[in-house]
């Protein structure tokens, strides 16, 4: 399967350790993080938007999205 780069927009609750949860999920499951930025959402400071680029085949990309969606503090995951 072809390895491709992709970018995810992840909206999370600004709770304790949320970045640790996301990065921990990637290392635990052996996914790559190529780049990552986090910004508090101006419209609602209780939340942050994480923009992350990663790489993998189609199956890996689908798994990453599904695993992220399972985290309690993750509210939305979008492929952009």
């Amino acid at each position: 399967m072809e390895i491709r780069k992709f970018t995810l927009s992840i909206i999370v609750m600004n709770k304790f350790g949320v970045l640790h949860r996301i990065s921990g999920l990637f290392s635990k499951r052996g996914y790559n993080i190529d780049s990552l930025t986090v910004n508090v959402m101006p419209e609602d400071e209780r939340m942050s938007r994480i923009i992350m680029t990663s790489s993998g085949d189609d199956a890996t990309r689908e798994q990453i999205i599904k695993q992220l969606e399972k985290l309690h503090d993750v509210k939305e995951v979008k492929l952009i």
Partner: protein, 566 residues
């Protein structure tokens, strides 16, 4: 003048964090907890003392035992199991127990104390970042940093642990939060989180696939038990006339008396389950994750068959094995809808094939000493003393596989075993949790290797007068590792020949329990008579052959072509 919200607040009683915790547990129906006290949970234990008429605490010898007991309690009852431990080593001692619960989707609530907030991050005495440590092995976890959030966090933890696919949740409560006071809003249990609606077209597609199949095969797992869908599974299987192979976690969902039952699938699965799986044209995986131990070589596994995957956890779909189609949602709701939509079938030929393979399976894989104190005979004899509701726990290794192969399970939630993590030392705690949750005698099948890991919990069973019958399959070696060394490592028995001189009868007596040794079937029967009449734990040391193997066996990453039957 009071505004509405502060007036409302004043109506609530003010309580310490520790009191809020215990009251909230009680209001969630928790009347039994496991744990071990310490400096950072003294306030919680003080509240347990004050609430001792409403909530009973079972102290173990080691926090790991308490975690396994809470897990065993959850598996046996279907209700969350609660474990309490102090900060630092108390908390880290829970880790194996939490990971065990996580891998087997067991709803455990772990509560740890921590040092006071101003001391966190200072490498204080008995300080550890347990939330950081347990992030990868919990569904979710918390550090409570504001007393006003404590009650909501506890209520939410119960929701998370039980909603969708169950799993463990940890709440770390610093000591000052336990002492501080806040308004208590009643700590009532909240409804579980709703699941997304089941996609109707996915059910229609699944029904179409099933109707096209001529050799359907059901592979049923622990999800059947979590969803309480054993009856729905049987109704579905009856309508499509399919045999049922089980993952180890799903074994107790299919009664041994059922004609459809093939027994366990996978590495040490029955001959019939492996052969039928390989020859089927459609594998219907229900509440399973297609683990490597179950599938072996994945490319071979699905060479001639389509996969229909039904699960509550959408991330399981296409994780380990690519499905042809899938249905996501609660099995208990999906199966009746699917059953209604599929055609009533009868597959005479497919049934004959199943019967034939079952017959061959019985004849092959004979043990070394099948007339004497052989694991199969031990397990079948113990079964005669138990009843259908008896909870059976195991440790990990050969004895675990033999129990999975030979014990005749009838009812869901009667088999407590570490399927995913494979935790040696799980059994003693789990059997205690099973006896507490089931409020009756439980059985532990263990090996001499596993028993040495957490045998200290025998003292716990004695202390709380819990009737746990401990059957040690004593071969003086680490049998499963030895089996691999024999088959794949040129009989280099590296560090598996223990030949420990432990006297298990004296061990039992030393802890205040009773026990005896059995070298023949007759001695076993005599021992079981005593064991099942004893008010407390009873240990039976069964001497078995060290070269006895678990068969059949499909080598790791192998397929049916590589099956070893003798």
């Amino acid at each position: 003048m009071l505004d509405a919200s502060s007036k409302n607040q004043n109506q609530h009683e003010t309580m310490s964090g520790a009191a809020i915790l215990i009251e909230t547990l009680i209001n969630h129906g928790v009347d039994e907890v496991f744990g071990f006290p310490g400096g950072a949970v003294l306030n919680i234990y003080d509240e347990l003392y004050k609430h001792r008429g409403k909530i009973r605490h079972y102290i173990t010898c080691h926090e790991q035992g308490a975690a396994h007991a809470a897990d065993g309690y959850a598996r046996a009852t279907g209700r969350p199991g609660v474990v309490i431990a102090t900060s630092g080593p108390g908390a880290t001692n829970l880790v194996t127990g939490i990971a065990t619960a996580y891998l087997d989707s067991s709803p455990v609530i772990a509560i740890t104390g921590n040092v006071a907030l101003p001391l966190i991050g200072k490498d204080s005495f008995q300080e550890v970042d347990i939330a950081g440590i347990t992030m990868p092995i919990t569904k979710h976890n918390y550090i409570v940093k504001d007393i006003n959030e404590l009650e909501d966090i506890i209520c939410e933890a119960f929701q998370i642990a039980q909603s969708g696919r169950p799993g463990p949740v940890l709440i770390d409560i610093p000591k000052d939060i336990q002492i501080q006071k806040a308004a208590f809003k009643g700590g009532k249990a909240r409804p579980l989180f709703p699941l997304p609606p089941i996609n109707q077209s996915s059910i229609e597609e699944a029904a179409k696939l099933i109707n096209e199949s001529k050799k359907p095969y059901i592979y049923a797992g622990g999800g059947i038990i979590s969803s309480r869908a054993a009856a729905e599974l049987m109704a579905f299987a009856d309508k499509i006339d399919a045999p049922i192979g089980s993952s180890m976690m799903g074994l107790s969902a299919v009664p041994y008396t059922s004609e459809r039952r093939l027994g366990m699938t996978g590495m040490h699965g029955t001959y019939a389950s492996s052969m039928l799986g390989a020859e089927s044209d459609l594998i219907i995986g229900i509440g399973v994750r297609f683990s490597d131990r179950a599938t072996g070589d994945k490319s071979k596994y699905q060479e001639n068959t389509k996969i229909l995957h039904i699960d509550i956890d959408h991330s399981e779909i296409d994780k380990n094995i690519k499905s042809y189609t899938s249905v996501i949602g609660d099995i208990k709701e999906i199966l009746p809808r699917l059953t209604e939509m599929v055609d009533q079938r009868t597959f005479k030929k497919w049934k004959d094939v199943a019967a034939e393979y079952k017959k061959i399976g019985k004849e092959c894989s004979r043990g070394l000493n099948e007339d004497g104190l052989h694991p199969k005979n031990i397990i079948k004899t113990v079964r005669q003393y138990a009843n259908d509701d008896t909870v059976v726990a195991t440790d990990v290794g050969q004895h675990q596989m033999w129990t999975a192969q030979y014990y005749e399970f009838t009812k869901p939630r009667t088999f407590l075993t570490s399927g995913g993590l494979g935790t040696m030392g799980f059994g003693m705690g789990a059997a205690i949790g099973g006896a507490v949750g089931g409020k009756k005698r439980s059985i532990l099948f263990t090996g001499d290797g596993s028993f040495h890991m957490n045998m200290n919990e025998l003292a716990t069973a004695v202390m709380h007068r819990l009737p746990v019958v401990v059957i040690i399959m004593d071969n003086r070696v680490l049998g499963m590792v030895r089996q691999w060394q024999k088959l794949f490592y040129e009989e280099h028995y590296s560090n598996t020949t223990m030949d420990r001189v432990t006297d298990y009868v004296k061990v039992a007596e030393g802890f205040g329990a009773a026990g005896c040794k059995a070298e023949t079937m007759q001695e076993l029967e005599t021992a079981l008579e005593k064991a099942f009449a004893t008010d407390g734990p009873y240990v039976i040391d069964c001497i078995i052959d060290k070269d006895e193997r678990v068969l059949p066996m499909i080598p790791p990453n192998g397929s049916i072509d590589n099956i070893i039957t003798n």
